[in-house]
Symmetry: C2
Subunit: 354 residues, 2 copies
């Protein structure tokens, strides 16, 4: 598609679960697009994709694909980003990368716009979109940190299978059918595509997301720990994470314990702060059995927070329950929001009429 | 059934999910039974139940049902226990109660035999079986406490629907089928049978188990907090809990953060202690993707522990992942183990040949 105003946007990984959500989000939020280039690996090239009523063909990415691109949104795996993101930057594009390839690079801003939009100003061509579980957590914790300080975070996650891609969703549904019909099945995808062992996800819980690091933590857990400190610009923040995969299609949930920087904070103070925070919906009323759940958060933009209660032992301790759509705020929406911030901050110049 | 040796055992709630497991466990462990009386509410009276090849009829409980009973195992809800347990005790039976009715009564021992078997010696006719989530956690934490001390516990649970009874299992399975077949359904049971609102459990996560207390915690969370301190005889232990229901049929999982009483403890020290602890199976090898999961713990007696790792900020902090069958160690097995302890400690005298 070509228009006379707006930006030349490229989407790398356009046929994937997140790529599809990125296209829907660009369309829904009416991002100013002059030209849209859809890219993928050789395997998915040639597929057709719909955008604003037009049918577009996905092309195999080559370095030259990024000539003239203003903003490139990458969501095709870390190795693809490592190969092509520098090529895109070299050709003048600003890359917003949804993989973990560059997130901890000190030269690369790691951005959740509600939390650290200003970090975008320091970009050198590459901006990283954080891990899905991290985004929703920092979106909820940053308003609390700003108001009361934050010393410590211990999170246990309840993560949906769509975070592992479309194949994982199919695996969960097919296994569920097989179990209900008392048929045999062989796990092939989860917990990790390339891992040696695969386990049943239907009606089960798998305490492994991504590979294991040498310290016994998974890479997903280390992402939550390291990315949280970087996004919040709070290197001394104590963060611990346990990441767990569940038979839920979309919507990550998190049980989060925090210690704030003051001793006189009440549950009502935190509710008040979160009720006014951007991108947050407070769902917290035990009397009405109102609390966030993934079945109701899926398809929605906001981060939902509830079950806020004071720890019974630590004066500055609180517990929260945080739920959000891992494909939206956890991925596609945050990526598009970063692109919107680039426009808002004047960091990408709208090209002249061609 | 009548034999010439052993005890007269009554099972109250014999047709329920836990009652059925109690019967299987009594049979499997060959508990010395002279006479077995199966009791229930009027609604289930008349049902037939199999035990050791015999077919037994369940009778409606009346106070006189407990005449001559040595050990009565109660698992028919708190109100039934409150009504009939004192009647059983009055008639000389020792009641092992699987409900929450008497657990926090200072006169009633709350027992996990691997943890505090000696507390049984102080019984006054009533012994309480703890909450399912609590049992598996204290079974794993007590060996650590004994070796290294224990200051703090923060647990987030991943609880199976069978903890809410057979109707909840049916609801999960029926909803799962409906969702896979794109059919309508109406939640009617979970999160809490008598509550105002019911929510989808299939492919969802519900952060409510039992009713809410006034402090914003659920009763399930308060059970874990209070019962843990009582069983471990450690009133100053800091305990926090978030209890969550998942679409898993059987097997509760727990993400547990602990702070031990010493700073020089290693992961290997904890693994060593747990590998020798009664009723515990260590499943902890990231290189082999070995960790506990409910799909593999269901139907097994042990409490499975893995993902043991040192906290990255607190010198005495560790994370563990604890899984067990909530109907076995979490309920029926622990109940029968308490009965076995009564025999072992000589607290119930085998009746003479009649």
């Amino acid at each position: 598609m070509e228009k006379t105003t707006g930006y030349h946007v490229a989407v790398m990984g356009a046929t994937g679960a997140v790529g599809q959500q990125i296209l829907k989000t660009l369309e829904r939020r009416d991002f100013p697009i002059k030209k849209l280039t859809l890219l993928s690996s050789a395997r998915s090239a040639g597929k057709q994709v719909h955008f604003k009523g037009e049918t577009l063909t996905v092309e195999e990415a080559v370095p030259e694909s990024f000539e003239g691109v203003d903003i490139a949104l990458f969501s095709a795996g870390g190795s693809v980003s490592k190969k092509f993101a520098p090529e895109a930057v070299k050709r003048g594009a600003i890359v917003i990368d949804n993989t973990s390839a560059f997130r901890m690079d000190p030269e690369v801003p790691l951005v959740v716009p509600e939390v650290n939009e200003e970090a975008i100003n320091n970009h050198k061509g590459l901006i990283a979109n954080p891990n899905c579980s991290t985004i929703q957590m920092v979106a909820a914790l940053e308003p609390i940190r700003k108001a009361f300080g934050l010393n410590k975070v211990i999170v246990s996650t309840y993560q949906a299978v769509s975070g592992a891609g479309a194949q994982a969703i199919d695996e969960m549904n097919n296994q569920s059918k097989a179990i209900l019909d008392e048929e045999e099945f062989t796990p092939e995808i989860l917990p990790v595509g390339g891992a040696d062992k695969h386990y049943q996800i239907a009606f089960n819980v798998i305490p492994q997301i991504d590979q294991f690091a040498d310290n016994g933590y998974t890479l997903e857990e280390m992402k939550m720990i390291n990315e949280t400190k970087k996004i919040m610009n709070h290197p001394s923040l104590k963060v611990a994470a346990t990441c767990v995969r569940l038979p839920v299609e979309t919507g990550h949930s998190e049980s989060v314990y925090i210690e704030v920087g003051q001793n006189d904070v009440t549950v009502e103070d935190i509710q008040e702060i979160l009720s006014q925070a951007p991108g947050i919906t407070l769902q917290d009323d035990p009397n009405e059995q109102l609390y966030p759940m993934p079945a109701f958060a899926a398809g929605k933009d906001d981060v939902f927070v509830g079950r806020i209660r004071r720890d019974l032992d630590e004066e500055n301790g609180f517990h929260l329950w945080i739920v959000s759509d891992n494909l939206l705020k956890g991925a596609a929406l945050n990526t598009v929001q970063i692109a919107e911030s680039l426009v808002k901050l004047g960091l990408v110049t709208a090209p002249q009429h061609s």
